[in-house]
């Protein structure tokens, strides 16, 4: 090939259009191995250590890392069997390099290196957050959720945003391209929204994980019974569209958690029964109100037309309801992948890996490490 011809073709010259990619995810408490062919989902095997964290009321990093090591090979075998492929067949191995829990990430990164090295495949260390957006492309999605499949496409719509909400993350992203243009528009400055759910569930005695527990308790409560704070919504933080304040698109949930604790303690001090359902409903309303209001504002001010919801809290009934309502009012198309693809999984890592392979992005070196605070702009390492 002449140099001129090289310039005319994209970086993807010679790259398979629909690469077969195996993806590994171990950034928190889910050991995930997924396999995709381009945008077609072939397998999504997940082993969770959630049960081991219940008595602690939250994920214990060291327990999660122990579980990843034990679960890795069985999960890998399940994924390969489900997809009906051999390791030798894959075009690349992708793995979450960060962000996440350092000790947990290292298990996946080391496992991925072993597979890539042994099977002589390129290795892609990818960004967990961008991978959450990558699932929006997948077809043949798990039908267990009764959703998905029809929304899949070869590429994301050009002006896509992503709202990621989980126990470890609360972020809004602008995604121009999954492979080379991702921008962080806003994020929590302290606790993740899912973490606030876990902590409030614990102080209400509702158990772990907090999301479903609070959602259940809230069903019988009055969301207007308590007016809990919507943090970072005062003019000095928000500013205007022209002159945005420092935290216009950011969230904060630690004060909300404290406000709930104070309310509970006031009832206890007075010897009165704690109105659990009303508190749960009011807390949930405060979280979901500020989450959706800020996400929709960030999206509209950046002229986005599609908003994708990801992360474990995407399963929350009230979040889906209010977000759908506010997206519709703002003329934003809302996409919510099936829950099994919203929570952490290997298929999303494989999906992003496939995009990187197809775009001709250079693979990662074998000496990459885990980056627990990997910035969203760093799509692959």
């Amino acid at each position: 090939m002449t140099p001129a011809a090289t310039e005319e073709t994209s970086g993807a010259a010679g790259a398979p259009e629909a690469p077969l990619v195996l993806g590994i995810e171990t950034s928190c408490d889910e050991t995930g191995v997924g396999i995709v062919r381009g945008t077609e989902l072939l397998a999504n095997a997940v082993s969770s250590s959630m049960e081991e964290h219940v008595r602690f009321g939250g994920v214990i990093p060291e327990i999660a890392a122990r579980a990843h090591l034990e679960a890795f090979l069985p999960t890998l075998r399940r994924a390969l069997t489900a997809a009906g492929v051999e390791l030798d067949d894959v075009d690349a191995v992708a793995v979450t390099a960060g962000p996440g829990l350092a000790g947990a990430l290292m298990v996946g990164v080391s496992a991925a290196k072993g597979l890539a090295l042994a099977a002589e495949k390129p290795l892609y260390g990818v960004n967990h957050l961008v991978a959450h957006v990558g699932v929006g492309l997948l077809v043949g999605q798990d039908s267990a959720d009764g959703a998905g499949g029809d929304e899949a496409a070869a590429a994301l719509p050009p002006r896509t945003g992503a709202l990621l909400v989980s126990g470890g993350h609360t972020e809004i992203l602008r995604v121009g391209s999954l492979t080379d243009d991702v921008e962080l528009l806003g994020a929590t400055i302290d606790d993740a929204a899912g973490e606030a759910y876990d902590k409030v569930a614990r102080l209400l005695g509702l158990g772990y994980p907090g999301g479903p527990a609070i959602d259940r308790a809230a069903a019988d409560g009055d969301p207007a019974a308590f007016r809990f704070p919507r943090a970072l919504t005062m003019p000095k933080f928000v500013g205007t569209a022209e002159e945005p304040g420092k935290h216009r698109h950011d969230w904060s949930f630690s004060g909300l958690k404290t406000a709930v604790a104070r309310a509970v303690e006031q009832f206890e001090a007075a010897g009165r029964e704690v109105p659990t359902a009303d508190i749960a409903a009011s807390f949930q309303e405060a979280v979901v109100d500020v989450l959706t209001a800020k996400a929709v504002r960030a999206a509209t001010e950046h002229e986005l037309t599609t908003l994708l919801l990801g992360g474990g809290v995407a399963a929350n009934r009230r979040l889906r309801e209010l977000l759908a309502q506010r997206c519709a009012a703002a003329g934003l198309e809302l996409r919510i992948p099936p829950v099994s693809l919203c929570t952490d999984n290997g298929a999303m890592v494989a999906a992003l890996g496939a995009q990187l392979v197809a775009a001709g992005v250079a693979p990662s070196a074998l000496d990459i490490g885990a980056d627990s605070s990997q910035a969203v702009e760093r799509i692959s390492v």
Partner: protein, 222 residues
């Protein structure tokens, strides 16, 4: 021919053929396992001139050692053996030190030690004769005086624990000065496996439970 990996203290990888070490990489750094171990494996294979699938097996040190590094080596070994479809064997990392001491002429009973952090050591009681050593008791984890408390205080010791806790652990006589700083090495694990050492499941020897404590009463905020 075996590929051996150890990540119980530093990180090391070796290709061995019986007693012969064909290729070897090692670092004493304790915080770079995730980065250096896989490239080291690639390098020793190239240097030994063998393809992974042509090996007879993979041997991995199961510790005891700091958890994160230990897991990095173990899961790497799991992946490699799975992809190459090779048998995978675990071997106690402290046995590397026992072999080294015996090879340097130590005889009789002695202790092998490693840094367990938190002012504790990993240790085991061994016996050496005619250049070979056997494990009699352990491995255990405990404060450095732990062996003395068990009536083993007079036994000579080798390994990192000796340099960290010289007041509690006595250096074995007749060994090189650096025996007080010895840490496990993959090459010796490969040699031990070839010589019929006791093999273990390729699972980590943590010896300690996770530190996590379940929350009890919550703290008041007001």
């Amino acid at each position: 021919m075996l590929l051996a990996i150890d990540s119980s203290a530093g990180a090391s990888a070796a290709v061995t053929d019986g007693e012969t070490v064909l290729a070897h990489r090692r670092t004493d750094a304790t915080t770079t396992h995730a980065e250096v171990l896989a490239p080291a494996v690639r390098e020793v294979l190239i240097e030994a001139g063998i393809r992974g699938a042509e090996l007879d097996g993979v041997v991995v040190g199961v510790g005891p050692g700091p958890f994160t590094g230990l897991r990095v080596g173990l899961v790497l070994a799991h992946s490699l053996a799975e992809a190459w479809d090779l048998p995978l064997h675990g071997i106690g990392s402290l046995e590397s030190l026992a072999r080294r001491a015996a090879r340097h002429g130590l005889t009789g009973e002695f202790l092998v030690t490693a840094d367990a952090r938190r002012r504790e050591v990993h240790w085991a009681r061994c016996r050496a004769a005619a250049g070979a050593a056997e494990l009699l008791d352990g491995p255990h984890v405990g404060p450095a005086p732990d062996p003395a408390a068990r009536g083993l205080g007079d036994l000579p010791a080798v390994g990192r624990g000796v340099s960290l806790y010289p007041e509690d652990l006595a250096p074995a006589p007749g060994l090189p000065e650096d025996a007080a700083r010895w840490t496990a090495d993959a090459a010796e694990l490969g040699q031990l496996a070839a010589a019929g050492a006791v093999l273990r499941d390729p699972l980590p020897l943590y010896l300690r439970e996770s530190d996590a404590v379940a929350p009890t009463a919550r703290k008041a905020v007001s």
